[in-house]
């Protein structure tokens, strides 16, 4: 699978922003790591993993070793991911039941969970499953994943569609888990939680420190590192 060309920086369209976030998040994954990818932006990440990264994909509905998306002719109705989309399985893949799958997750055997969120707080609290006043009827495996995975990467736009900051002082929305985030990738920047401290470590696609500050209500330390985008 060849990585597609990155969308042009600053194109501003939502789909482009999401693709850029996915591309940057892909750089956080290391060879041999077992990774669980949530619905939405995280599901775009495989397109930005090179053919030899050796990242192993786990899907919580019961498969270790997810392969590329199938052609129409290869679709198997018994083979889907947690987004209920058709997938393939790599040689050496293993299937298991849901209790075994979540035993892997909760037991700390999944290296990385990448997932979307509504909000992340300066303390690493994640809110990604429920909006008060709306339906609170779907949690899926989100709580298990953020608690169980050794490293949790949140991928989301820096602000909501109505312009509200999403990296916040305190989450307004019901939590998925407290203090669970390790990395937050938006279209503007990368934040890292280090020893309980939120650090702005990288600016993306020409964004400035002020651009980030304008859509961030959480307190953070600016501690820029060399950009990892090649």
């Amino acid at each position: 699978m060849e990585a597609p060309a990155l969308p042009a920086p600053g194109a501003g369209m939502s789909a482009d922003a999401k693709a850029r976030i996915a591309a940057r998040a892909a750089l956080e994954l290391h060879p041999g790591e077992v990774v669980n990818l949530g619905i939405g932006i995280p599901n775009l990440i495989p397109e930005y993993l090179g053919p030899d990264t050796g990242v192993v994909i786990h899907t919580e509905n019961g498969l270790l070793g997810v392969g590329p998306r199938p052609d129409d002719s290869e679709v198997d109705p018994d083979l889907i991911d947690a987004a209920k989309q058709p997938i393939t399985a790599l040689p050496g893949a293993a299937y298991f039941d849901s209790a075994s799958s979540f035993a892997m997750i909760r037991g700390g055997h999944i290296d990385v969970a990448v997932l979307g969120a509504l909000e992340v707080s300066g303390a690493g609290d994640i809110a990604n499953w429920a909006v008060p006043g709306k339906d609170v009827l779907g949690v899926g495996g989100a709580m298990d994943l953020v608690v169980g995975a050794r490293r949790v990467i949140v991928t989301m736009t820096a602000a909501s569609s109505t312009g509200d900051p999403k990296v916040v002082a305190e989450c307004r929305y019901p939590l998925t888990a407290a203090g669970a985030a390790d990395v937050v990738v938006t279209e503007l920047s990368v934040f890292r939680l280090v020893d309980g401290e939120l650090r702005l470590t990288e600016l993306l696609d020409g964004a400035t420190v002020d651009d980030v500050a304008a859509v961030t209500t959480a307190s953070y330390v600016v501690a820029l590192e060399e950009s990892r985008v090649g």
Binding site: T59, D76, Y95, S98, A99, A103, L137, V139, M143
Partner: protein, 219 residues
């Protein structure tokens, strides 16, 4: 218990009575026992059912059919959202919803089959979904006490069974099926293919036949 009884979908779903708790396997429609669900929809009058299933089907499909008939009183699921009609029914007060994190849902069903009285999980601690549940700190980490989930009847799907009722699951159609097969007073297995005894490799049996009461061939 004896070998599973091979029967028709109609006879099998006769085991479901009004007021029962019914587990239904599948992740969405994958691995769902669609022949048994159709029989429950078309050939059974049981109502006021509590459904334990990861989803309540999709609109007009799978358990979504039973929902449209107004025969579900309560759902225990991790993800009602995949059926907007289920969400609407909850919001209209027509069905009661118990939302459980997916891993806790799976583990609680396993516990129900395994005679475990309860277990502590760190998942959900301190969240809305732990409200009203006992919590305790173990090794510095807050945990929630979760009880087992059991049912009167489980409806499961397996790609292959043998004539005794041993079950083998294909690919991601395994999901909750082997867990639910252990956790109900009566387990009804729908199989895509029913083989002779001895045709399933003994190491490859996922659900040993002592868990299976009735065996039905997929339509």
């Amino acid at each position: 218990m004896t070998a599973a009884t091979l029967t028709t979908p109609e006879e099998a779903v006769g085991a479901v009575k009004t007021g029962d708790t019914v587990m239904v396997g599948g992740f969405g429609l994958v691995g769902a026992p669609l022949t048994l669900i159709d029989a429950l929809v078309e050939l059974s009058d049981a109502r006021d059912l509590t459904i334990v299933s990861n989803n309540i089907g999709e609109p007009g499909r799978g358990l979504g059919k039973l929902l449209r008939q107004g025969r579900i009183r309560r759902g225990i699921s991790s993800y009602f959202t995949s059926n907007p009609e289920a969400v609407a029914a909850v919001n209209a007060g027509e069905i009661e919803a118990t939302l459980v994190p997916q891993g806790t849902f799976a583990e609680a069903i396993r516990a129900g089959g395994a005679g475990i009285g309860g277990f502590y999980t760190p998942v959900g601690a301190g969240t809305l979904l732990a409200e009203g549940k006992e919590q305790r700190v173990i090794d510095g980490v807050r945990h929630v006490l979760e009880g087992p989930i059991r049912a009167d009847v489980a409806l499961v799907y397996a790609a292959r069974a043998d004539a005794l009722g041993n079950l083998w699951y294909r690919r991601t159609a395994r999901n909750f099926n082997p867990l639910m097969a252990t956790a109900a007073a009566v387990t009804i297995a729908e199989a895509g293919e029913i083989l002779e005894v001895g045709e399933l490799e003994s190491e490859s049996v996922v659900t040993p036949y002592l868990y299976v009461d009735y065996l039905v061939a997929s339509a």
